[in-house]
Symmetry: C2
Subunit: 357 residues, 2 copies
DNA sequence: CTGAAAGCGCTTACAG
DNA sequence: CTGAAAGCGCTTACAG
């Protein structure tokens, strides 16, 4: 038997016969520079309409696509934005990411995915990612404590925008995009007050989280406006996950077992915490909203499918993603802080909140 | 007042003083080619250990990172993998994506994000994404009907792997990576049979979905092994989302209202459908698992936090992501079909399933 | 306005 | 084994 015949060069040689600008120029009978100018719509190129048409046709017929590497090497930009996320599985972060992706695409940019934890750990990956012209700029999910100084370092080299947190970096200013956290929790609190709750507890994120602090401030201000206070014993700090919500409720329930009064409503620092609380409630003999109302920050697709459906306030996550790309591409003054307030926080009342008994 | 002083070239000129290979070579007192060879660990480079050390030191001291554009232009690869996803908000797809990302990073590759729907709509974006050496290869989430022929077209130009679906493309063979769908649903079905259920219904995905068909086949075979059949009236087709699960249950409930017997357990085509069913059950006067057991394909972080926690079978999503990157980088024979069976499907029994009344 | 020339920063046959 | 030279495919001052 003979060796099997070589297949008709399918992708054996990879990147089969890529068509170059020179091929287009040849086909159109013009020089390479002119082809370049016409294809890039250089206003200085005043070739006859007919010539232009011939070039465009040739490019189209040959299926010409510029070689990105060659182009980037010349113009020192590559149409890539680095998106550094923290937790790929959170539906909250995902909504942000959707906005970033869509707006980037609208500007003919693509997203390159990075992972906060990995970049923090692996110095080489870190440098490769932010250096070497790999990306034109960086969008970093904010709110990760220790990462901040690192971000400041990067921002000196590469246009950088922090999304979803005000810049906490003091010495160096980094552009940041964030929502009106306080207005969000104020809305939730007012909703609960309106239902008749007078003692409200909080399951918040990590104690040192700026975002968490802002959310708590919104609760405090709404309570204060009603002449009420937030009791220290009604606040618990945990992490931003469903398991955190579960742990937070366990902690509170343990306190309540010692007797005395307890809050009739809980505000969850985010909707993952809210999910954890709903999931754990039954185990503590709590029926929601009968025994306890629960409301959370951030509306995601899951909220309405939970049992019971979760009352939330939606913050403009998608729009923040959009805005962060705009800021990045506008190469705006570093250190700008953009509050995204359109749309404003919106309350989504669902069955997890009800008047207290 | 004078104009404000120009800041000390922060990022005004962008990409401040990028250090080039030539700078490293100068600093080490060697030629550029030698520096290149040593830094790339070319085994042919037999400079003295001391010279090598000097080069590496210089690179380190200067913080040298190769210019990716220049490098890609030469070697015709850029360390970028295109990941084309369908629904960024699905926790199922996300788990896949995590595996892809991690394995890509392990091979010093980064991910560029594309969107199926957008690429289908926008011809220019499509060509830009797959052509022009933007990415070295493509990983495409499978199971999107109409996209298949398109994928085949791409695969002829660019190394491509379909993940999460066997290749349905007949004429041209595209490498694909998929789980043992039938084993998964067989496990769920056997679990329900073991609990004593003898009539089991299915809320599956779209009627023309290959994945859905495979999952139904697993159910059929397990039922058949027990001498049971799947009744046509107990099957409903919907979409793969929570809203689909909601609609599917509504459809079944409407049938059941006409009287007669009904299934005592339901298998959801995926866990989003399962979430929808759990969320809608109460509205149909059904208590789960008391009146109806529910089990679903794919285990995600939410499953255990649902009310009640959802019984699922986990398929190796993360590992499929990993494997798809390996296949892509191995540039394996086109048309290979890889069944990822490690780990095998695992049953996660939770409170949404119980013996029938 | 257009074309010939230079050059972006690398890698790699090619001579020595 | 190492260095000088060429060249990857583009864009853009620079002359004409």
């Amino acid at each position: 038997m003979d060796a099997p015949p070589t297949p008709p060069t399918p992708q054996a040689g990879r990147r089969r016969g890529a068509v170059r600008l020179a091929d287009v120029a040849d086909a159109a009978g013009v020089s390479v520079p002119l082809a370049s100018r016409v294809l890039n719509a250089d206003p200085a190129a005043r070739a006859t309409a007919e010539t232009k048409a011939r070039i465009l046709e040739a490019a189209d017929a040959l299926g010409y696509v510029p070689n990105i590497a060659a182009k980037s090497l010349r113009i020192r930009r590559n149409g890539l934005i680095g998106l550094v996320v923290h937790d790929l599985s959170s539906p909250i972060h995902l909504e942000l990411m959707r906005g970033v992706r869509a707006e980037a695409a609208a500007h003919n940019h693509f997203l390159v995915l990075g992972d906060v934890d990995e970049l923090l750990e692996d110095e080489l990956a870190f440098r490769t990612f932010i250096s070497g012209n790999r990306v034109d700029g960086l969008i970093v999910q904010g709110g990760h404590g220790g990462f901040d100084q690192r971000i400041a370092d990067i921002a000196r080299v590469l246009p950088t925008v922090i999304v979803n947190a005000p810049s906490r970096v003091e010495r160096e200013r980094v552009t940041s995009v964030y929502p009106d956290e306080e207005a969000g929790t104020r809305l939730l609190t007012e909703h609960l007050l309106g239902l008749g709750h007078t003692r409200i507890g909080v399951v918040s994120g990590p104690r040192d989280s700026t975002t968490g602090t802002l959310r708590e401030a919104g609760i405090l201000s709404a309570l204060a406006a009603a002449g009420l206070a937030l009791r220290a014993e009604d606040v618990v700090h945990t992490d931003w996950l469903a398991s955190g919500g579960r742990a937070g409720l366990a902690e509170l329930a343990a306190r309540w077992e010692r007797g005395g009064d307890r809050p009739t409503a809980l505000i969850a620092g985010n909707s993952l915490i809210g999910i954890g609380i709903l999931g754990a409630a039954h185990g503590h003999g709590l029926s929601i909203p009968h025994d306890l109302s629960v409301a959370a920050v951030h509306d995601t697709w899951i909220s309405e499918h939970l049992v019971p459906p979760l009352t939330t306030v939606s913050l403009p996550l998608y729009e923040m993603g959009v805005e962060s790309v705009r800021q990045l591409l506008a190469d705006s003054t570093e250190g700008t802080e953009i509050l995204v307030s359109d749309p404003p926080p919106v309350l989504h009342v669902r069955a997890s909140t009800a008047p207290p008994l």
